[in-house]
Symmetry: D2
């Protein structure tokens, strides 16, 4: 089961009849809370600990379009954990067909939105599910 999934909406498709590119970024961003939850720490848990995240950078690479009538599945995993940042790699697919890869770098912040070191237990949870280097 994917971390996050949704039928493509009519309003997300442009005049070319395909999902407009910015929506893929919105899909990945919406999925990140579910990806973190799969790693054992929900976004709500983060907030409850006085932590939050900010997006620093993201890369998207498209392979094929999604269209109205398709269901997009988003999967992801924490790929790397730095001192105050972490990277999540997402795939956005329709069935077996890959549509877009997204790789996003987040910085962990405190409630005042100042970058803050990733706590050891959070690092352990995130690395547990991460790909071998």
């Amino acid at each position: 089961m994917p971390a996050w999934s949704a039928p493509v909406r009519y309003a997300e498709c442009d005049q070319q009849g395909v999902v407009f590119n910015a929506h893929y970024l919105a899909y990945a961003d919406e999925a990140v809370a579910y990806v973190l939850a799969e790693h054992g720490l929900s976004y709500g848990d983060l907030l409850a600990r006085g932590l939050d995240t900010s997006v620093v950078a993201t890369e998207l690479q498209w392979s094929s379009p999604a269209r109205w009538g398709d269901v997009v599945d988003v999967d992801g995993q924490v790929e790397r954990v730095g001192r105050t940042s972490f990277v999540v790699a997402f795939t956005i697919s329709v069935g077996d067909r890959l549509c877009c890869r997204v790789r996003t770098t987040y910085v962990l912040t405190d409630a005042q939105r100042t970058p803050t070191p990733v706590p050891d237990d959070v690092r352990a949870l995130w690395l547990r599910g991460a790909a071998a280097p």
Copy 2:
């Protein structure tokens, strides 16, 4: 000069090649601050007085589509002022061609988002510009 104006964005047009209906509501909502400013009271002034607004109801009526390449002009005026609510009537046009009429009822609230009576001086400003009944 219209209260608010913007070139139609590519991403706002759907597979039929016309602006998707929900964006007209977004245009009107974005324009309301400028319409209020034309009546002599900016949205920032409202917030500075500890007031805010909530949308209660809205009606949209379409006459013709806007397309990528068009510039949409939004005009509006306060049409009616109730005890805690007010109605703004908007027109959304491309040049001389009317695309959509929007009529939105707002409730005035305090900072805790509880409905609050429209102050007399605000009522006077809003009615000054309003259409005769």
Copy 3:
């Protein structure tokens, strides 16, 4: 089971922490295909018959906000069928709590987007599920 349902997305909530008003219109519009399917005629069936729809008018009335973390359920039914138009009434709810009522008038068109009379069998399907007058 509602005709259409979706978790509220983070990007749909504004600075007030509630779903921005235009998204309710997008929810209802996305749901209409599913509502028509419940009446026995999918949007795909319509297109296959050389028919399409255009939105003519819509009214929205809000009762309570939806927030990130909520799941919005959209239900609807064909409320009235005219010669070339029809009206669908939607409710958008979170659990038992009504958030917004939407009533939308569509015109039935041919593939060239010219209004066209509602065929008798389509009328019958739509009225079968409709509320008594």
Copy 4:
């Protein structure tokens, strides 16, 4: 004067009070037609020649947030021209403050959306304005 410019819309800001990340991609994508026009070839010219573009990949890097009340300015230039592809580098700023860098790789296609070599005169126009390697 920037290639494209727009006041931030209220609906583009999320619960953190800043423009939601996916909108920066939408800003850049909307600006590309104006950037190409600055290079001497409008998007309309491209279409008139039976050409179109598809987005292949994009990278975004954020430095500071844009907020409601800010005006975002988008500038860009063709940075590289390949056999069938080209890269546009964008900056998204508020006044003198850089908010986001976007670098997007497009493939040039024919009307059937098959990749097609960049014509020599188009290449010349695009490189004329491009940064020295």
